[in-house]
Amino acid sequence: MATNIGTIGLSPVATDQGPKRLSRTRRLFRFFRRELLGTFGLLLVVVTAATGLCAELLAPYNPTANDFGAMMEAPSWEHLLGTDQFGRDLLSRIIYGARTAMIVGLSSAVVGGTIGLVMGVASAYFGGKTDLILQRVFDVFMAFPLIIMALAVVAIFGTGVQNVIIAITIPLIPRCARVVRSSALAIREVPYVDAARALGFGHARIILCHMVPNVMAPFLIMVTAFVGQAVLAEASLSYLGLGVQEPVPAWGLMLQGGAEEYASSAPWIAIFPGVAIVLSVLGINLFGDALRDTLDPKLRKR
């Protein structure tokens, strides 16, 4: 660890802004040292994301190619995780499924979180009637459990990756806005926001440049948790047949239909996609917990 910090400290670029660079690297290493479980979680997330990103390079077979000569084959050297009822290689489908899970999870979490961030900060900044109205609107949206809201949206727009992302993004917005608003309320009273206002800055500039950076900690914690929730929601929707549709490989979809029917004779069809879901969500949650402990000193583990 020490050598790494030293190398960065000696490099010509880093000497310019030495202390800042160093402290950030050091902070990162301190995170790795103190949060062993969190680091393990991050590792799982990175592996899942990398798998999704390089699916073409990693997958040994075409995930959608049927091979009726090798249906429901048990795990072997040829098919490491076995094949499903259409002879499709499970490992390849799980690798491509990582891509679907990450696309849906990341985009819904980031888009939903960002819209929620802006709305939450705006609600706190403007206060008064705007705040009151926005709060009531959040209340209404929060009255829908995530999966129910997602199902209602799917009922209207239909299934498919894009609509699943929309369906999961919408219920995440008020959840983020709520949390961000409460942090932003405290920041509104801080002198530098008054100063910015006195200088005649516009609302957008004050919100985006002066308030948003100061609520990044709760925002990042929320978005991390959202990725896990979104991955689970996507898997649930796809399992119900109301999410991602065949032939797109998705973990939830792999557990639908065939998995239950053939579970007793070919348990691998039912087990491995679930393991992939659990590991990726577990990774995100462990990392999120560690992030919360690091960023929010009040919640730090005693």
Binding site: R136, V137, D139, V140, F141, A143, F144, P145, L146, I147, I148, L151, A152, V153, V154, A155, I156, F157, G158, G228, L232, A235, S236, Y239, L240, G241, L242, G252, L255, A259, E260, A263, S264, P267, A270, I271, P273, G274, I277, V278, L279, V281, L282, N285, L286, D289, R302
Partner: protein
């Protein structure tokens, strides 16, 4: 307290009205015409007269505001119209499937609380011991495991174990029998789904109990109790746990509404004909009257759960009651 209760109860009205408006708007956002979908599904040609007739039948030729008021009025009378798919009244469709879902939800809550509170408390008291680590792993696992997969795996295990033991595989019954008629059959049907859907619930509550307990154990009054020589057992039961349970009560109430979401998926796994399954069928069949009724019902349960939690909290915590 009286004023707080009235204020809190009145706050429910704008939320429910807003939710009704949202559902109303959502269901009218459906691309294309509901009537075209409806007539199209039966394979008929789009005769403008038939569409006009269908519009009149659904009351869609009236002004939007009138339609909305009618929707709210129907909701208040628990009259949601007839299912577009089966033609039966929505209320009776839901009513027939309610007992099974309700039973699983209640059973799951009981199981979750029975596991979560003792384990969470023990985990906090024995912080950083192996018990704590086991409990935390169990909790983190519960949050990461999708209930439908847990359902599939547990069914698989039951199948394998029973066929190994008795020679013939056994599956939980799927036909609903009221508990007073055949308690054994009823429970053998409900327990597995309840455990599956309750695992997440237990995990979340367990984490909450643990962190609340850790916080409370740091308070001055616990140190005072220790200083005056109170027995550890008394300190934990009478002083620590009682105070730590406040946030847990909130969570249990809120998570109960999330159970409905979990049921949607779990009932599918176990082939149970409950409200959750009805929801999925309604969405699959594009049955908008049934979907909007079910969404509104879920919202109502959620809002009422929140209301009960807030009132209970005020009752339990004198700081809120008297402020």
């Amino acid at each position: 307290m009286g004023r707080y209760v009235i204020k809190r109860v009145l706050l429910v009205i704008p939320t429910l009205l807003g939710a009704a408006a949202l559902v109303f708007v959502l269901m009218r956002l459906v691309p294309g015409d509901v009537c075209v979908v409806r007539l199209g599904s039966s394979g008929g040609t789009f005769d403008p007269k038939a569409i006009a007739l269908c519009h009149a039948e659904l009351g869609m030729d009236r002004p939007v505001l009138v339609q909305f008021l009618d929707f709210v009025w129907g909701f208040l009378r628990l009259d949601f119209g007839t299912s577009m798919w089966s033609g039966a009244p929505v209320t009776s469709e839901i009513w027939a499937r309610l007992p099974i879902s309700l039973e699983i939800a209640i059973l799951a809550t009981v199981i979750a609380i029975a596991i979560a509170i003792p384990l969470g408390a023990i985990s906090a008291i024995k912080q950083n011991t192996w018990i704590d680590i086991v409990v935390r792993v169990f909790a983190v696992g519960g949050i990461a495991t999708p209930s439908f997969w847990l359902g599939i795996v547990s069914l698989l295990i039951v199948l394998d174990v029973t066929s190994a033991l008795f020679g013939a595989p056994w599956m939980p019954p799927i036909e609903y029998v009221p508990i007073w008629q055949d308690p054994l059959r009823n429970l053998s049907m409900a327990v597995l789904p309840a455990v599956t859907v309750g695992y997440r619930y237990a995990a979340v509550s367990m984490r909450m109990t643990r962190s609340a307990m850790l916080e409370v154990m740091q308070e001055d009054y616990i140190r005072t109790a220790r200083a005056k020589g109170l027995m550890n057992k008394l300190i934990i039961n009478r002083h620590a746990l009682k105070n730590a349970l406040l946030p847990v009560v909130t969570l249990i109430g809120i998570e109960f509404a999330f159970l409905i979401g979990g049921l949607v998926v779990t009932e599918q796994v176990f082939n149970l004909n409950g409200v959750g399954r009805l929801f999925v069928q309604a969405v699959q069949n594009q049955d908008y009257t049934l979907t909007q009724a079910l969404v509104m019902l879920t919202v109502m349960v959620f809002v009422i759960c929140n209301l009960i939690v807030d009132l209970l909290y005020a009752w339990l915590d004198p700081r809120i009651r008297f402020s």
